[in-house]
């Protein structure tokens, strides 16, 4: 891999997985179609050829099994990186993630632990079939003992995934399918990890803070560019680490700008945006110049693809929310 070649988020995931397996013989991969086929998106392409069938396991088609087996492997000191083919299929695996992976360390007072990583594509926007477009990060963020990450660029996917695999606790790593092949960038394969408890400030500004993660970061950056052309100084923060939240960074930004818009693709009610807004009100109420506004999907299931653009917050939605915030008395 030449250092100057631009790669996609998908290729960055693949690069990080290769690196992790090379660095640590305890790292194993398991999931449906991840071996010979290299994953339905090709995220695990080449791993089986390079690291063998004992470390890259094509599993029977059973999500609870994939998660349960990963718990057993992790308790044995392996580092399973399990793939759930689409986030809409993860519910069968929930009991193992919620009742076991997240609690094994606590239940045994540290005697056993569960350092597994769940990788799953998330989100709408690729004209996929039913049940292939969910954004349910809030379900996992609610569970004590889990960490939840959503990268939104190739470089952050690479550095966060390596850090997730290193982490001694279970990590849910959600990959926005809409960004898989968008916005390639140069990623140096130097094994550098990114911190698991920090937001990423993508651009600095004085007038308003746009807070987003995952697929919506793309539209948020577009909205920010348009606002800048109108003379508005915009700060954009990619939350990236959904649990635990880096509220200090968010608070400092909002204290500076006095205005915040939160943009996420998941439905509004009890979304992570609600947690962020509540925390910012607790911490910075008197510095706010306007109410915090959320731009989200409505509380509906992701529509089939003919209407799926209704679901995804658009640049125009973000601009409208920014206008109302900026024009608030």
């Amino acid at each position: 891999m030449t250092e100057q070649k631009k790669i996609t988020l998908l290729e960055a995931v693949n690069l990080a997985l290769h690196r992790a397996m090379l660095e640590d013989a305890n790292v194993v991969m398991l999931g449906e179609d991840i071996g010979v086929n290299g994953g339905v998106f090709r995220a695990t392409q080449g791993l089986r050829e390079r690291f063998g069938f004992k470390r890259v396991l094509d599993t029977p088609l059973a999500e609870a099994m994939i998660a349960g087996v990963s718990v057993g492997m992790a308790a044995q000191g392996l580092k399973p990186v399990m793939e759930i083919q689409f986030l809409g299929f993860i519910y069968a695996a929930m009991e193992h993630l919620v009742s076991h992976a997240s609690r094994l360390r606590n239940r045994t007072r540290g005697r056993l632990s569960c350092p597994l990583v769940v990788r799953s594509p998330m989100g709408a926007g690729i004209r996929a079939p039913e049940h292939h477009s969910e954004s349910t990060e809030a379900l996992f963020a609610h569970i004590p003992g889990l960490r939840v990450l959503v990268p939104s660029s190739p470089a952050r996917a690479y550095g966060l995934l390596l850090a997730a695999i290193d982490d001694p606790d279970p990590v849910i790593f959600l990959e926005p399918t809409r960004l898989y092949r968008m916005n390639p960038q140069v990623v140096v394969d130097d094994g550098r990890r990114l911190p698991l408890d920090s937001c990423f400030t993508l651009r600095e500004g004085q007038d308003i803070t746009l807070i987003s993660w995952g697929g919506s970061v793309h539209e948020t950056l577009q909205a920010a560019a348009q606002l800048e052309q109108r003379g508005v100084s915009v700060e954009v923060i990619d939350v990236a680490c959904i649990k635990p939240l880096d509220l200090d960074t968010l608070e400092a930004s909002v204290r500076k700008t006095g205005r915040a818009v939160i943009i996420h693709e998941a439905p509004r009610s009890c979304g992570v945006g609600a947690e962020i807004a509540a925390s910012l009100y607790e911490r910075a109420l008197l510095d706010l110049q306007a109410p915090i506004v959320r731009v989200t999907a409505p509380d509906i299931p992701p529509p089939l693809y003919r209407l799926e653009q209704l679901y995804i917050p658009a640049v125009e939605d973000i601009l409208a929310a920014c206008d109302s915030t900026l024009n608030y008395a």
Partner: protein
């Protein structure tokens, strides 16, 4: 007509302790049989003591193993230290033999996570008791996968009740164990009752063991109240798995003589006549009758055993009651390897809440 599958069923001693067929060669070792007997009695007395501790408010809810002592004792006597047990919540007898201490079992049911921290290095890799039904079967497959990946000749042993075999997790575990030929032994303690639901309406198949057939490996039934039968068949299964010849499912037919837990009242749903009959077939009386008939056991040895067990129980209860409260921070110390700095304010809230409660002034 449904397909008929004739599975092996093994019994050596009938309910009266009479051999129904020649016993395996190892059973001529009376020192071993006597050890099994002693351990079954110890398990029962500890189990009864634990129920009594719950009745007097010294521990919380407990799931007794009354009547199923032969299963746990046979398994626990045969597993090697390097094997890993992935148990469910009715495995007191098995856990004691693995090396879990009596006071740890009391501590767990007494509402303290340290009861699953297991001090004995021999059980360092064993799983804690699993409460969500059947999920442990998949964890055992993960443990067995790790053994296989590393080329270790170790076996994962997992237990569950008859109700658990209805769950998808159990079936998914059998399926992957068969597909990957994992070194795992599934032991179903078919004690006939899943709380209030009897075996006959739990599943339409004539046996639970035959579920293994659909996963491509051997399943068999054994008289779970005959410790000789459980020991013999489990020894074979364990050896087979250790040699890399794949998984085995052992369905042990027993009976839950006690309530589901101390919070349950089985008289609400179970005929007294059935329980009375089950007491005629329980495992301890059966082995005792055999040992007495062989001149290997008598009343004086029985009295000495019971006195010895009671002394152990008394010491365990004293040890349990001497264990102090965990500090408030312990509720946070093990949620993550390191409590995230981003959640530091919650630590302060917890400490403040603990301080108020210690001062007697509950604000919540």
């Amino acid at each position: 007509m449904p397909n008929k599958i004739d599975l092996p069923y093994t019994r050596y001693l009938d309910p009266a302790g009479q051999p129904v067929q020649p016993l395996p060669a190892w059973a001529s070792d009376f020192a071993l049989l006597t050890r099994l007997y002693r351990q079954m009695q110890l398990t029962r007395l500890f189990d009864l003591k634990t129920v009594a501790l719950q009745r007097t408010g010294r521990i919380g809810t407990y799931a007794p193993c009354l009547g199923q002592e032969a299963i746990g004792v046979a398994l626990g006597s045969l597993m090697q230290a390097e094997d890993v047990l992935v148990p469910y919540y009715r495995d007191t007898g098995l856990q004691l033999l693995r090396g879990v201490r009596m006071e740890e079992i009391l501590l767990y049911w007494g509402g303290d996570e340290r009861g699953s921290a297991y001090a004995d290095p021999a059980v360092a890799e064993d799983f804690p008791l699993c409460v969500p039904i059947a999920t442990q079967a998949l964890h055992a497959c993960g443990v067995a996968s790790a053994f296989k990946i590393r080329g270790q000749h170790r076996v994962a042993v997992t237990t569950c009740g008859d109700g658990a075999t209805s769950k998808g997790d159990f079936l998914e575990a059998l399926n992957v164990a068969g597909a990957w030929q994992l070194p795992v032994v599934f032991v179903v303690n078919n004690n006939q009752w899943a709380i209030s639901v009897p075996r006959r309406i739990q599943c339409g198949a004539p046996t639970l063991a035959q579920k293994a057939i659909g996963a491509g490996f051997a399943g068999e039934q054994v008289d779970g109240n005959d410790v000789v039968a459980v020991y013999e068949r489990f020894a074979q299964a364990l050896e087979r798995a250790r040699q890399g010849k794949g998984p085995v499912l052992l369905e042990c037919l027993s009976y839950r003589l006690g309530d589901h837990t101390t919070a349950d009242d089985a008289t609400r749903y179970r005929p007294a006549e059935e329980v009375k009959q089950a007491w005629q077939e329980e495992p301890i009386k059966r082995l005792q009758a055999y040992l007495v008939a062989q001149g290997q056991w008598d009343e004086s040895r029985e009295q000495a055993l019971i006195a010895d067990c009671q002394a152990q129980l008394q010491a365990a209860v004293l040890a349990y009651e001497a264990i102090g409260q965990q500090p408030a921070e312990s509720a946070m110390d093990y949620v993550y390897a390191q409590w995230p700095a981003a959640l530091a304010d919650q630590r302060e809230l917890l400490q403040a809440r603990a301080a108020r409660q210690l001062n007697g002034g509950r604000h919540d």
